[in-house]
Symmetry: C2
Subunit: 369 residues, 2 copies
Amino acid sequence: MHCKCSKAGGPQLMDSPRVARPINKNLKPLETEPMIGETPTLALDSWLTPNSVFYIRNHFDFPDISDSPDTDWVVNVNGSFKNPGSFTYSDLSKFPKHTQAVTMECAGNNRTDLTPRVPGNQFESGAVSTAVWAGISLSKVLESFEIDPNSKELLFEGKDSGEPEPGVKTQNFQRSLPIDVAMHPDTMLAFEMNGEPIGVEHGGPLRLVVPGWYGMASVKWVRQITALNSPFEGYFQTYKYMFRSGEIPARPVSLMQVKSLITSPMNGTDVKGDSHSISGFAWSGNAEIDSVDVSTDGGSTWKPARLVGPSDKYSWRQWNFSWISTNTGHHTILSRAKDKLGNLQPAKSNWNELGYEVNGFKSICLNVI
Amino acid sequence: MHCKCSKAGGPQLMDSPRVARPINKNLKPLETEPMIGETPTLALDSWLTPNSVFYIRNHFDFPDISDSPDTDWVVNVNGSFKNPGSFTYSDLSKFPKHTQAVTMECAGNNRTDLTPRVPGNQFESGAVSTAVWAGISLSKVLESFEIDPNSKELLFEGKDSGEPEPGVKTQNFQRSLPIDVAMHPDTMLAFEMNGEPIGVEHGGPLRLVVPGWYGMASVKWVRQITALNSPFEGYFQTYKYMFRSGEIPARPVSLMQVKSLITSPMNGTDVKGDSHSISGFAWSGNAEIDSVDVSTDGGSTWKPARLVGPSDKYSWRQWNFSWISTNTGHHTILSRAKDKLGNLQPAKSNWNELGYEVNGFKSICLNVI
């Protein structure tokens, strides 16, 4: 075939998503400095979470990235690499694009359900969302830097910084991952979220996405990657995001625990007639969802729900249950999930000081009229 | 468990997407009355197409639906049903929600590639998009109306109307489907597109989605469903959307033909160095994609590409090819797809009077510098 080469236009797509201070008026706000907000209840009923209602949890204010067009975004690669150096956002175009649907949950989601209450952002059920992310497998990007085989962890640093709490020194947000997790082909440097460049509020132009892990691992605004020969000990690694509960030894929060939610009908709704469709989502960072059961009598008896919709490896699974009610009045509906490794959603969440991994049964009440 | 029923708030999500006249300034416009536009080239490189750049092809102006809030949207069900009647948008909440990613292509996509040129919208490659659609299986909704077992087709009528061309009588947009296609569990009445209520420009509040078929089958603004005992003969059924080419008997356009596109790098781009990532998409309405081959020498030799990313039944498949170039200058790159039924993408599209099913190889040219 004959080559008809004509210079292509420069990439131009939509209004710039890289505003310095986005206003996500559609989120249920928890804080504004830094911006923290939950996905509204109604949007939780959709398999895909639109970017404008994808939950946001930052530790510091958004960094100013207005002086860094995507093409100038530099990521430094240092520590125990044979060829330390850097790469830019535009260097990524020579690697194969990696696309996957990933459900992300904040480790503090449903913190309000713990008794006694614990401090921290008082999330209800909306600190969980699903997007189709695209980027490059991190392991591909790091190949040419040649990591030292004795490296234990990769440390990721975002451009965001501040005082984590009064009296703690100003620092950038930093989190490390074990080498095998960081170099897994599905761990990626993402630049796209639901088909759009990642907005600054979600970590654009470049965000780490660690499938299966609670959201804190998916470092936003990545600008430095450091290979370490010993475990990282930083504020957000060894003080925050630790599951601490009385006498049990503290352990770090990592993979999302098996969990299910009922998303339709909404809690407290009047429903007509005797035929009802109950639906929701279930997910686990450890494995795909195996089954979901539903109880319509407050937990006395259980019946299996049907798993429906997309079944991607790292995304939540929608489930559905057809319920024929036999009497009017209030009914308490519960769901429980099991993953393919046999992990069971517990009836009651395990209380812990910082309120992480809250995954107990989450009932709704329906009033049959 | 004790029931703590509290009245939930009414559903409220985002700014109303139901504007009477949306402005999709991000699309590549072809017409404004009715609005017709292609997905811009850069957005074609993403597995998911954001709603704002999902292609639009309408035959008439958008209908005015401002007097029909979703809850009042009525669909009449008539013809050969035992219990004809109607249902409303809100009646759908009692059925299980059905979610699936579906690639939709306009039957006239790539019409500009035909030689000699044919009339009609001069689409380049952007009349194809992918969204996660959610709704209800049509067969579930129609169960209670009890279709006559002798019915041959279901006819769908949208609320949009006008003169298809000067001199042809004013009519609503109408298309029929064979019963087995209409009643397939994956044929659905959709109310959600990428997690948002379907905007009026894409057929909201209620649109038929027929996976695998060219877009004309997915009737927008559905307001009437009629069961027929004999084949429907309407303008858009027997005059338009017919593959007519010289002496071959005309046949209706139905399932999307096997096809592939190269979406990155863009045609006419300068690429540096000798290592390049070539990627694109492949799809077929007949079956899932089996393989994609790439030629970097204008079609003389071919090598297999890797299939990557989500592999949902009805969505396109991303593919990737790592190319090591051996010399600078212009190179013509081609891709060819095969589906699991053995259908092969043809080198050259089959010319036809109205310019449908254009699926020949679509080369790009790269300038290695």
